[in-house]
């Protein structure tokens, strides 16, 4: 994790503990997008993921005075987000089957056939997001925790409860599947992406 960000978090947490709720708002602003992306790795529907993320942030608000800096705030927050999402999927079975999402993506983004000269930035992002949504929950989650949140294997263990070997295997498989899925969606256009 970034040391500057960690120090900034600690200052904000100290301010929150002294009763300044605007500090909590700043923490939310700093982490909401990454947290939302992680939530979407588990809850495949964005609207539902946003609602669940709000519940997770409420838990963070209620328990922030207990935060003792044993791990970084980011690790602690992502653990709450991931656990809240998994609790919901367990209770309500909101996980959309991977095959369904894959079908949607194949129909929405068949760029291999359109063969446009250059992919627009927004299109690139949409394709990547959809490809990751189509992947298995654990693969998308571990890939995003490692590459998007820039967390170490040890921190991912703390958040997910997976073993180190499982994380390494999932990362390897995730990278391969990401590449294969992008190849299916983009065909030759994948070269412009990498």
């Amino acid at each position: 994790m970034n040391t500057t960000q960690t120090n900034k978090d600690l200052i904000l947490i100290a301010r929150f503990k002294e009763g300044d709720t605007s500090a909590f708002r700043q923490l939310v602003e700093s982490y909401k997008d990454v947290s939302f992306t992680l939530a979407c790795s588990i809850i495949k529907d964005e609207n539902t993921a946003e609602d669940i993320l709000q519940d997770a942030f409420i838990k963070v608000y209620q328990n922030l005075h207990k935060f003792q800096n044993k791990s970084s705030f980011a690790t602690w927050l992502y653990k709450i987000v991931v656990n809240t999402c998994f609790d919901v999927t367990k209770k309500q079975g909101r996980n959309i089957p991977t095959e369904e999402v894959q079908q949607e993506i194949n129909t929405e983004y068949s760029y291999a056939e359109t063969s446009s000269d250059e992919l627009l930035q927004s299109e690139r992002q949409a394709i990547i997001q959809s490809t990751l949504s189509s992947m298995k929950t654990d693969e998308a989650l571990v890939l995003r925790l490692h590459y998007l949140s820039e967390l170490s294997i040890q921190e991912i263990i703390e958040i997910t409860g997976y073993s180190a070997s499982k994380i390494k295997v999932t990362l390897h498989r995730g990278r391969k599947n990401l590449h294969d899925n992008l190849k299916v969606s983009l065909g030759q256009e994948i070269k412009s992406l990498i």
């Binding site: 602003e29 964005e46 990751l132 998007l148 992406l193």
Partner: protein, 113 residues
């Protein structure tokens, strides 16, 4: 696909929350009822122990007992040691009560702000 390429691609998968996300969240938080959970069981236990020590200390000081003999055994506790332990124990109980009071005030302050 190597590590850097994967990192580059995954970074592009960042999703954004709706514009009203933070405002809606803060509004939800304001509407949350404040729950102050104070477990009374340990407090009652500590108070009973404190009373025991206070009575023991009062007895030892009042009688001028130099050593406390338990059940006529060879086991003797110097009264001074018991007095010191008792004093620390009472101080600990007061600090615990103060902590609970501080937490309640903190919750109330958070709710107001």
């Amino acid at each position: 696909m190597n590590e850097d390429q994967t990192k580059h691609i995954v970074k592009e998968s960042l999703l954004k929350t709706s514009d009203s996300f933070t405002d809606a969240l803060m509004q939800k938080i304001e509407q949350q009822p404040v729950e102050v959970k104070v477990s009374t069981q340990p407090l009652i236990f500590l108070c009973v122990l404190a009373l025991f020590f206070i009575f023991s200390l009062a007895y030892l000081i009042g009688e001028g007992v130099p050593e406390l003999k338990i059940l006529d055994l060879q086991f003797k506790i110097p009264a001074l040691l018991l007095q010191i332990m008792g004093s620390f124990f009472i101080l600990y109980i007061f600090s615990q009560i103060l902590n609970i009071y501080k937490n309640i005030l903190q919750f109330k302050q958070l709710k107001i702000s």
